[in-house]
């Protein structure tokens, strides 16, 4: 079955790049324009993987991860942060919020596909 991915990023260009790359790799990608939008979309469908940006209006990445982990349906869904901040502090925050991993921006599409493959196959 085709795996589904939720890509959350307020930057249209990055979001489209992520979505395009993953679609090209055979995933079914849903885009969300910010954390709030992502949360609403996650409520209506259980995705196989969530990729989220950190800095977003309305609801940032960490808050989204926490909100998702609070949902019974998202206890086991892998969540990766796509972040420009690779500091340990940020990683700690991400882990505490419930993220399963991170990918540092900028990344190229191949790297992204490689990482996503590692997680959900």
């Amino acid at each position: 079955m085709t795996k589904t991915v939720l890509a959350v990023d307020d930057s249209a260009s990055l979001r489209q790049m992520v979505a395009f790359s993953l679609r090209a790799a055979g995933y079914l990608v849903t885009e969300a324009v910010d954390g709030q939008d992502g949360l609403e979309k996650a409520r209506t469908q259980i995705f196989d993987l969530v990729l989220t940006d950190q800095n977003m209006p309305r609801l940032d990445g960490l808050a989204l991860i926490r909100a998702l982990r609070a949902l019974s349906t998202y206890q086991k869904v892998p969540i990766l942060m796509l972040t420009t901040e690779s500091s340990d502090e940020m990683k700690l925050k991400g882990k505490a919020a419930g993220a399963n991993g991170w990918l540092v921006k900028p990344f190229d599409p191949q790297r992204l596909i490689e990482v996503v493959k590692k997680v959900i196959g």
Partner: protein
């Protein structure tokens, strides 16, 4: 599989442009004394997004400035540095630089690298100029986007006087442990253990040393023990945060391993992914560090944007203007065909052809709706124009030492795209004038008992078939005496008894300026006449209201669109001409006695005690008229630019909306004609250029009247 990143460039460019505009808007409205946290966050986010996108899409020159911006903004939003006007100036400058770089990529316009470097240095200098704050703390913060921890930098400097070396050493010592390690062929070499980045160090050195002559290198090895201070962070599969905090050395070691791995691949997982099948694993993750999580939740809550802005997911599409124009053109043709059909069926017997006539009526209605809908595609909100001004007003006011509050009203008012683009220049001129000549200096204002801050407003509103745009300032107003004095000097025909409205119109005379000093902003005497001409060419008019001491309002009235016009059709001989209804005041059949010829130079007509020049349309276009005598035909009183004239025609035919066809693009420019249209019967009719007509007649008439 390769993915071509270039396909995302256009989206990135558009997005960046929007972010920059948003950033500028926020910077202009920000309250220096008490900056809104959410606004600061939004500005930070804009810089951050641009940097992220630029990095991803390989447009690396944009990342330099955005990185500096981000660093500074981060300090400010965390409250570690106060926001000052200096910052806002630097940010605005950075925005301009980014726009220039963006245009360089997008439109291949030249990019001035010197200004880029200057801007970057300015931002870096600001980041280091942190007042009484311990610089160690600032330096720590400023590197938050790079791996934390102390690094050893080797700074090779050119030969320099001992005093300069001394002051540089002092500066650098604020960043960390500084040792003067060795001298290579007489040139000093410094070693600095610091948490700052190479860029930060370079920024400091730049004040004393030419960047080309120095070399800063980083020793890759982490300084033993230094990492310990940062430990307590880092989380890898075998341990949780508590453990880490308890065993800093181990953590530091793990951290280093992790760092190396991350450097290599740029990603990491907090737990092996087998855990996704193992049901208990997520629970572990969840309970990792409850206090920290709680801490962060409250921190996030504080910072969490609560903006209710609708999701930015776009519901619009971009279409080239040619397609829209083609559509408008086609609808124009349809309107003509429909008018033809209507005219032909008019003669049919309504009893016999009831159903056909009903259908035609229906078609008429549909056509009108369609036309309106299509025209609305070309409509754009005035905000497109207005949004350019806050920045300009701010810069100008700053330059002139004036305080100006800028207000816009009716930014949502829509206007045809063709018009909106051509209104920018005249409006810019008027706004400049208002700030330069209108609004007084703060001291002058205070002396006059006014608020030190002047008020400049731009407003747009619909009035009938027109849009009225007004530039209003609460400055000193126009000086009647000075304008009249200047007019006499320039040899313009004036008298002291002229009403105010006519006096104000004098400033539209070519080369007219009352400014005592010519500044580089305005007052060069090329201005108001150009404004007036530009507006006139758009079919609009300019009006001035002013009261000494209270300010000036310049009011521009424009037709909503250039493509459709309310016209009055008049007949001369066999020809039908269209007069734009906006110019028509009234029409009347004059008495013989009211028409007077003056010394062979032309005729005037007396209308309600006022003598107006009489223009015979048949004489201008060389047509054989039905009537030679005005009292047998009709005169239409026209007004343009506050001047009136009477146009003698044979007959009035009616009023109708006409679709304007450009004569220049289909034939060539004809004096006295502004365009053409196709009538319901398929015939072509010319639209009279009323303002030119009145202008050319006026000179003649003025001479006639003044000489009599």
């Amino acid at each position: 599989m390769t993915i071509d990143m270039r396909q995302f460039f256009q989206v990135f460019f558009d997005e960046t442009e929007e972010l920059l505009a948003e950033m500028e808007k926020l910077l202009l409205s920000i309250n220096l004394a008490a900056p809104d946290e959410e606004e600061l966050n939004a500005i930070f986010r804009a810089a951050h997004s641009i940097k992220g996108g630029a990095g991803t899409f390989g447009i690396t020159d944009l990342t330099d400035i955005t990185h500096e911006l981000e660093t500074l903004l981060d300090l400010i939003r965390k409250g570690e540095m106060g926001l000052t006007a200096k910052h806002v100036d630097a940010f605005l400058e950075a925005k301009d630089i980014l726009k220039m770089q963006l245009d360089g990529h997008r439109l291949h316009t030249p990019v001035n690298q010197e200004t880029v470097t200057a801007c970057r240095c300015r931002l870096q200098a600001l980041a280091h100029f942190a007042g009484a704050q311990p610089s160690q703390r600032i330096a720590n913060q400023s590197t938050s986007s790079s791996p934390a921890g102390t690094r050893r930098l080797t700074i090779a400097l050119p030969s320099m006087p001992p005093s300069e070396l001394e002051s540089l050493s002092l500066e650098l010592a604020t960043l960390g442990m500084l040792t003067r390690s060795s001298q290579l062929d007489g040139k000093p070499v410094l070693t600095l253990d610091t948490t700052s980045t190479i860029d930060d160090v370079a920024a400091i050195c730049m004040f004393l040393v030419d960047p080309k002559e120095m070399l800063i290198t980083e020793d890759n090895q982490h300084i033993p023990g230094a990492a310990e201070t940062d430990a307590g962070f880092g989380f890898f599969e075998p341990m949780n945060v508590d453990q880490l905090a308890g065993s800093p050395l181990l953590a530091a070691h793990e951290l280093a391993t992790e760092k190396a791995r991350e450097q290599a691949q740029g990603y990491g997982f907090f737990a092996p992914f087998t855990t996704f099948v193992a049901p208990e694993a997520p629970a572990v993750i969840h309970h990792d560090a409850p206090e920290v999580a709680a801490d962060m939740r409250s921190a996030a809550n504080r910072r969490e944007p609560e903006r209710a802005t609708a999701s930015s997911e776009s519901t619009s599409i971009r279409v080239s203007i040619e397609k829209v124009d083609q559509l408008i053109n086609l609808v124009g043709e349809l309107v003509i065909t429909q008018a033809m059909l209507e005219q032909r069926t008019d003669k049919l017997d309504p009893m016999l052809h009831e159903r056909l006539l009903n259908s035609v009526t229906q078609l008429t209605r549909n056509t009108r709706d369609l036309q309106e809908a299509v025209m609305s595609i070309r409509m754009m909100p005035m905000d497109y124009v207005f949004s350019r001004f806050p920045r300009m007003v701010r810069d100008l006011a700053g330059k002139l030492g004036k305080k100006v509050e800028f207000v816009t009203i009716g930014a949502a008012t829509e206007l045809d795209k063709g018009l909106i683009e051509r209104i920018i220049d005249p409006l810019t001129h008027l706004v400049r004038n208002s700030i330069d000549h209108g609004i007084e200096l703060p001291a002058q204002r205070a002396a006059a008992g006014k608020n030190e801050t002047g008020r400049l407003s731009l407003s747009a509103s619909h009035q009938g078939g027109n849009i009225v745009i007004e530039v209003t300032d609460d400055g000193g107003g126009l000086s009647r005496e000075r304008i009249l004095g200047k007019a006499v000097e320039s040899g313009l025909p004036v008298s002291d008894a002229m009403p105010d409205a006519e006096v104000w119109q004098l400033i539209f005379a070519p080369g007219f300026t009352t400014a005592e000093e010519v500044t580089d902003i305005s007052g060069r005497g090329v201005g108001m006449d150009v404004v007036k001409r530009n507006i006139g060419s758009l079919g609009g008019s300019v009006d001035i209201r002013s009261a000494a001491g209270f300010g000036t309002t310049i009011s521009i009235s424009l037709p909503l669109t250039l493509a459709i016009l309310d016209g009055m059709s008049v007949r001369v001989g066999e020809e039908i001409y269209i007069l734009p209804l906006g110019y028509v005041i009234e029409s009347l059949q004059p008495e013989v006695i009211d028409v007077k010829g003056i010394s062979g130079q032309g005729r005037v007509i007396k209308v309600r005690g006022e003598y107006l020049p009489l223009i015979a349309l048949h004489e201008i276009f060389g047509i054989t008229p039905q009537h030679q005598n005005p009292s047998d035909g009709i005169v239409v009183i026209l007004e343009s630019d506050g001047r009136k004239a009477a146009l003698f025609v044979d007959d009035l035919v009616g009023q109708q909306q006409v679709v304007v066809k450009n004569l220049e693009s289909n034939y060539r420019k004809v004096a006295g004609i502004s365009g053409a249209t196709i009538l319901g019967d398929g015939g072509v009719s010319l639209i009279v250029d009323v303002s030119t007509l009145i202008r050319s007649s006026q000179r003649l008439a003025d001479e006639t009247l003044f000489s009599s």
